[in-house]
Point group: C2
Chain length 445, copies 2
């Protein structure tokens, strides 16, 4: 490795995470998910802390069982465009689905965000887990898991091809000669694949970052292969430093085997932090939040992973293990596998699993004093379990983010672990990720 | 009519219009179409003049024959979201196609813009005229003209239905009871039509305007019927006050026949103004701009209306009339009909038509002193030929808009014809357009 590793910190402004009732906390901004003032003020707070980027999730299907914080939300690209105008350096990561979108629109949306933000756009590529989504897009059925990744691979090929439509410097705008663009630097994609057929070119010059950064969160086997091939940032969930290490080395090896420089793929688990003046006070805050859990809400949330009809048939306090076969859904494959292991290992009842999934109780090393949280971050980073973290703005939104920026970041900066100012104008520059060459550009000799 | 008519003025920030070489003018901001600073500063200038809205066009297909100002542009919704954050009262009209988009995405994008802007969003519904667009979306062929309008009608039914998913006040967010929303105010669309099948609900609460305003620019017979049924603003091009009057009364009658209040459909032709200290100076500026025209560029622009292969076969100075059959394309039907009439009436050659289309020479009553331009606006408005205008930010971008705001608007205000401040917080309020009732809401008794 020629360069020192850099700790990367993003902030997830997506509301909620797994705790379905935390919005009831007195200090929780309960309409945040639909309130642009929340996103602008949180992004500015994150920029105050020199965080590398903000992250915004998405979904394309809700019903009356959807968790409160997910049922009412702004669309990510419009949201991030407002934030782009209200900030100047922080990166902007937004989520769009390859299963329910058109590559031409997606290339334009993220290309436009990259132009608008002067080089701060990143696309979190998702394949969409919830089967009901198909019904919002006139599809007979939701594609099965691995097929979604095959479509996604082609989708990315097309989008990257469209982003290469115009070489650097193609637009001359020479008023005296009347030459607006250099036609030799315009390339028509003419893509014809199994799932997509797209002519091009994109109606947009090369973006400030060459192309927006690719982020990916799949952690199934197909998801990890996809990430190793395409992703520059991997967003993941890892319950312990040991599991994080295994994941980190697995994904970096997969990338290396594909001929990629593993340093150009950053592994960032999502974490939720609770910061207080003492360990006891932090735990008290955690207990206060856990006490808000409503078992009905927790069960609804489980329907992402377990078949709703089956849930309804099982007694709350019955052992779950004997029922598991055929109960787990096709989406979120890595998570459902983890659930199966947990149920067997700890002999969980349905109630036990629901509460466990809602609180992630006993699994959070990032609860404690600011020193403790900074120590944990340093430990995971130096153990090469992570390249950094995506820190939730919660659990109490947006107080979690404010405490992190005001109390934890200065400690990391004081230790020389984290930058005290942005290093570059673009997110690629900031993260040390290279600008991908345009596929058509002649190497200069 | 119970209320006095209000003069409405919007500004089109779309670059170019019909003049393909005006970017060569020394004062033209030649990278404006891809530069967010242009859109933000122009929107702020328009807001300084209390203009009702800004308008942004779009297209989904370019090739190396596309006019310079259209080949490299920002995506409208991301662009308008930045502008939403940088302004506080002006309306935001953006263009999206019903032929190449999904209703669920479009409902979210404009719904999100309406939330983000606190009630200033409007959707310019287009059916997409350029047949090549099909190739960017994996379609075998572009739908023919009237079929596009049938699809658009269904598309709008779906989008309006999705916008009604949640009644006013559905989100209670009651922390003490734990009730986040009132389930009786949630409605699942379950739409199944000929072209679309969309379950719903939308993952977004009712927007500040009830729903975004619908704008439409079709002027063919199918287009006018569609506008009469759905549009709240009709964007049109009318070469003379007489033609404008005929169009105005035609469209208002069509709306009345469908049981609509014709005052709730505003007819706004697009105009390009040139303002100078004297009529002679204004004409001189017009001549300066026209002198920039390049015949090759002008011919390329004609390819929107005439088959390119046919254009290549015809001598530039030959009479065009005998060749017209089979030469006109299927898109922009009203415009191609106008071209056919013009060619026959004035015995135009190919060169003559190209220059005529590029300059619209001799057809612009809005060139002259500020008083003259204000007089023309007043005359068209008082003659009930229009409800107002959509004023181009050009022809010299953005100087045209600045001159209009600084010199023409104050005269209209001085005459009591135009407001001196915004009347309302939302664009609907500003334009006097009613908030559409939610289809599921019980009338209060």
């Amino acid at each position: 490795m020629s360069q020192a590793r850099r700790l990367v910190l993003g902030s997830s402004l997506s509301i909620g995470g797994s705790h379905t009732s935390v919005w009831r906390h007195p200090r929780y901004w309960s309409d945040a998910s639909i309130n642009i003032d929340y996103f602008v003020s949180a992004a500015r707070k994150a920029e105050e802390g020199k965080l590398d980027f903000i992250f915004v999730g998405d979904s394309l299907y809700v019903n009356d069982h959807t968790a409160p914080h997910l049922i009412n939300r702004l669309e990510p690209l419009t949201l991030l465009s407002v934030v782009a105008g209200a900030t100047s350096r922080i990166g902007l990561v937004g989520t769009l689905s390859t299963t329910y979108h058109e590559p031409f629109h997606v290339a334009r949306l993220f290309g436009s965000l990259d132009h608008i933000s002067r080089g701060r756009a990143a696309w979190n590529v998702v394949t969409t887990a919830l089967p009901g989504t198909a019904e919002n897009f006139g599809r007979d059925s939701h594609l099965e898991h691995d097929q979604r990744y095959r479509v996604a691979t082609e989708f990315l090929d097309v989008v990257k091809g469209l982003w290469d439509s115009w070489e650097e410097g193609a637009f001359l705008r020479d008023k005296s000669s009347g030459v607006y663009f250099d036609a030799s630097k315009l390339h028509t994609l003419n893509y014809k694949g199994e799932h997509f057929s797209v002519r091009g070119p994109l109606s947009m010059e090369r973006t400030p970052q060459g192309r927006p950064i690719i982020v990916q969160a799949g952690s199934s086997d197909a998801g990890k292969d996809f990430a190793a091939r395409h992703a520059e940032i991997v967003f993941t969930h890892q319950p312990s430093i040991e599991e994080a290490k295994r994941f980190y080395h697995d994904i970096k090896e997969r990338a290396a085997k594909l001929g990629r420089n593993p340093n150009e793929l950053l592994v960032l688990p999502g974490i939720s932090t609770i910061v207080a003046d003492s360990a006891a006070q932090a735990q008290q805050k955690q207990d206060e939040i856990d006490a808000l859990i409503d078992i009905d809400e927790a069960l609804k949330e489980l329907e992402r992973y377990l078949d709703p009809a089956a849930i309804a048939r099982i007694d709350l306090d019955e052992q779950l293990a004997p029922h598991l076969d055929g109960l787990l859904t096709d989406g979120y494959q890595a998570e459902t596998e983890r659930i199966a292991q947990l149920v067997h290992k700890e002999n969980l009842t349905l109630r036990g699993l629901a509460l466990r999934m809602s609180t992630r109780a006993g699994h959070n090393p990032f609860v404690g004093t600011a020193e403790h949280v900074a120590d944990a971050i340093q430990q995971w980073f130096e153990a090469e379990a992570v390249d950094g973290f995506i820190v939730s703005s919660g659990p109490i939104v947006p107080e979690g983010l404010h405490h992190f920026v005001d109390q934890v970041v200065p400690i990391l900066q004081g230790r020389g672990l984290y930058h005290t100012d942005y290093r570059a104008e673009t997110l690629r520059g900031q993260l040390g990720l290279p600008v991908p060459p345009n596929r058509y550009a002649q190497a200069t000799t």
